[in-house]
Symmetry: D5
Subunit: 130 residues, 10 copies
């Protein structure tokens, strides 16, 4: 069984510096509640073929001290538009970046990618691990 | 990472005095049951752009001594029509107001806001915290 | 906060005598199973405005010694057609009547009422309380 | 409250001899897995009116030593086509017959019957009881 | 009750040598996350009639050290195109092959097969058993 | 072939005096445009069985000098709630009444009645005949 | 190219005597309007395999002197339940019978049959020919 | 039959001065093509009750020398947010304003208004009249 | 602009000898009516990549002296399963073959092919040309 | 009424040189038939804001001597990914380019663009003009 060696070409993803995700103070930080953002227009590039990939991202989180500022988050996702990156890494990279920015009580990110070669891929990660 | 300072402009929301939510006595207060009200025509104003926002609100509660009177609740929601207020604060403010009015056994409010900048936001809060 | 005094006008509902719900013996009473009846054509009258209300009722129960006879149950629901009664009371009254008739192991009744004033109301009750 | 006496006319159902449900050996009997069969074309006859009833049946089971052979199961369900039998008894009779044939680890059968008199009935049974 | 003897004609399935499923190293192996692949274009052949069967397969897994390489997985599924094999065995064979290839933390495979003889079959297996 | 003689019992329908349909002056009577009213909550009574019937009515018309006043039209439809009348006659009676009230350029009325005995009936009439 | 000889086995269909379709006088025979009946529960038998077929029939007609009486039409369709007849002949036979019964201004009958062998068949006929 | 006198209270609508609809030059004015704008978030106020109305507007036009500038059109529709105006007049007023602004080859405007009193109203106008 | 030369590799398609499409005599050949066959399980092979293609075919025809025999038509379509052939040629080849077999009054064939490279292709041909 | 001057910034669009659309010879050029390509993953950039736009394009054409080669057409559409261009011009530019490449008998291109500012835009052009 050969290992197709993707990791090598994607090693820099974990340390890639993306635009800042701005925040605003949570006015109801003494309450526990949930915020969901659905982003149906995500696009990036396949690192193997150079062709575009498309996905719908759905982020759900319980804010603590800070909430994600909508417009800067939109700009953050635009940084992936011309970036070569695998589906699995898109979701993992974003979760790490968002957790670093707002330190939420908990969080879930789901990326539903359009079919390629007749196969549709979905990647889901929770924080903290459940 | 800059904090975009929304809180300052929204500080008054928690103390904003909204119209009374009328109630009626729960005829079956010795039974436990659930009431859901779905309000697909909610609108308010974005405090940053001054443009209208639209949402569907879904309130679910277990009444104790009192139930929410439908017509006065409709009028309560109309008070937000020309009010500048963020999505997160709409849901939190309403939960606080309803709990003060009917002291339910439990309650859940979900606000599904129409997409802005290609991002659709949903805010959900339970009472008491779960 | 004024109490709009509905209860007074609806006090008789709990003691209103409705048509009998006939039953038949449960042939498989040594088995535990579930029966669901969905009634999309329920209508009654709003006691405040005199205008008709419409609902879909969904009854789910686990029979013990007896099952509900379909035709007599249909006739039972027709008794509400020209009766002034609030949404909350429709569901509670029916649960009390059905429990008295068949003494089920457990039961759930959901009434989904068409929107009035742009608000759609759903009332749900379980027996016994959960 | 009169008992409408259905049981009498349906007493023979529990002992009615239906066609054999053939089986085949479970090739992966050392694995636990689930099989679902959906049968949208079931029809039988109402014992009161003589008119046809229609249903969608959904059977889910965890096989042990044996699996249900598809074609003989189809023929088994055809035996009900001109049989007078109540909705509740269709589901209970079938569960008893299938359990006798394949002795599954567990099983669930749901029968969703088309509306009669504006009421749609669903009957569900699990084996063993849950 | 006759046993229709399928197993005999399918005995070789458990030892049938299928194409290798290639893998790539999991870049985020210190995180727990879920990957779903949906394959709506699966086809194989019925061993009894020689006619084609069609299914949608949905694979969900939590990767450990390795992930499934998409293109080789597509080719793996193509090996079934002209193979005579029963629905139950398709799902069980694939689960055994995938587990051998990537040793995932957990995995679920669902095969939804198009109706034959008016009956639609779904087969589901989890790893490890739940 | 027997004639079931319905007409006799329904002869009075064409001359039955229903509530007035109020109108308002068409502000844009120098323009040609179309108005559609959809009424999903229509109910009347079957003259043979005495059981309620339910329908969705859809009225489309091109106003000339006058438009239909919404609230009085609602009240007009309520007059059918406890009236015994066949599906075909509901639509024909209404078209005659509306044409008499507003003398539209053209008009179409469609009544889609809920299934009875497993048969769903739709009645459609245009004015003038096309 | 062999002719599979179906006609021989179906020759009697055109002269098969089915139950009478009762009628009632058209109260609005001076108006032109359209009646549609949708029958989602039609079943007959395949003359080659003896297995049941299922279809949804939709009849649309412009009545002249007479309308179809709903209950007798239901009984007419029940005559096909255990009759061996091909899809094409079901629709043609019914059109001939209905035209003979009510002599409509025009008529259309569509039969949508459930898939057999992975092929779903629809048969449509207009009267008079268009 | 009383005339409910709406026109009087709405007489000023035809001469009400609304915000300018900006335009841009049609780059392909030597080609004939069609532009559709769908606006699901329209809201105005009922002149009788003072309560908000909601609608989805769909504008379709064939541009000649000029096209509608999207952002100014959005602002134009916002002028109706707190304006008392009947459904019929919303559509007619807008068609007159758009035709004055861009002089299109042809145009169609459809307003689908949310149900009030259980009746949903749609208003449609074409330019020029067809 | 280069011509990619497909035709050369597909020249034999027009003369490729496929299995016979059997027929049966049209019992109602003195009536004009329409038959539609929908085939959601068509598959063939891409001549450039060797990978499978999938399509839903919908055939509509007005029979003259003969109708298509369902089972032999199914077998005819199976001849394409492992054949390299472009989407456009599948539809054209089939129309030529069916017209030769049954000489229908008119015919339409639509092939809706699953997306490849993010592009979904549909091919439609009428006979005779319209 | 100010003219917002878009044309100036978009003047170069009509003369912008895009990648070649390759063709292949139409094997059935003596037949008239229709080909539809649906492209749900189109993206370009708004020339005013620099933000991405998304659309689904649907091209329908009747080929004459040549057909569009799928893969090169995909690449042609990718040329718009980072191009600033208005919705109206995307559709018109593409139609001019495709007509120049394959000289079809007729053609239609529809671009359905995702909502911006709550307004969803669709642009449609036929060739030749109809």
């Amino acid at each position: 069984m050969k290992n197709s060696g993707y990791e090598g070409r994607q090693d820099g993803i974990r340390t890639w510096v993306t635009p800042t995700i701005d925040t605003f103070d949570n006015l109801y930080r003494d309450r526990e509640y949930e915020i969901t953002m659905s982003i149906p227009e995500f696009t990036c590039v396949c690192p193997k073929t150079g062709l575009p990939d498309f996905a719908t991202l759905t982020l759900t989180y319980y804010p603590d001290q800070k909430c994600i500022e909508l417009k800067s988050f939109k700009e953050y996702t635009l940084a992936f538009r011309n970036q070569g990156i695998f589906h699995e890494n898109v979701v993992n990279k974003m979760v790490d970046d968002i957790v670093a920015s707002i330190k939420p009580r908990k969080l879930k990110l789901v990326g539903v990618f359009n079919a390629r070669g007749g196969i549709k891929t979905t990647v889901t990660r929770n924080y903290p691990n459940t």
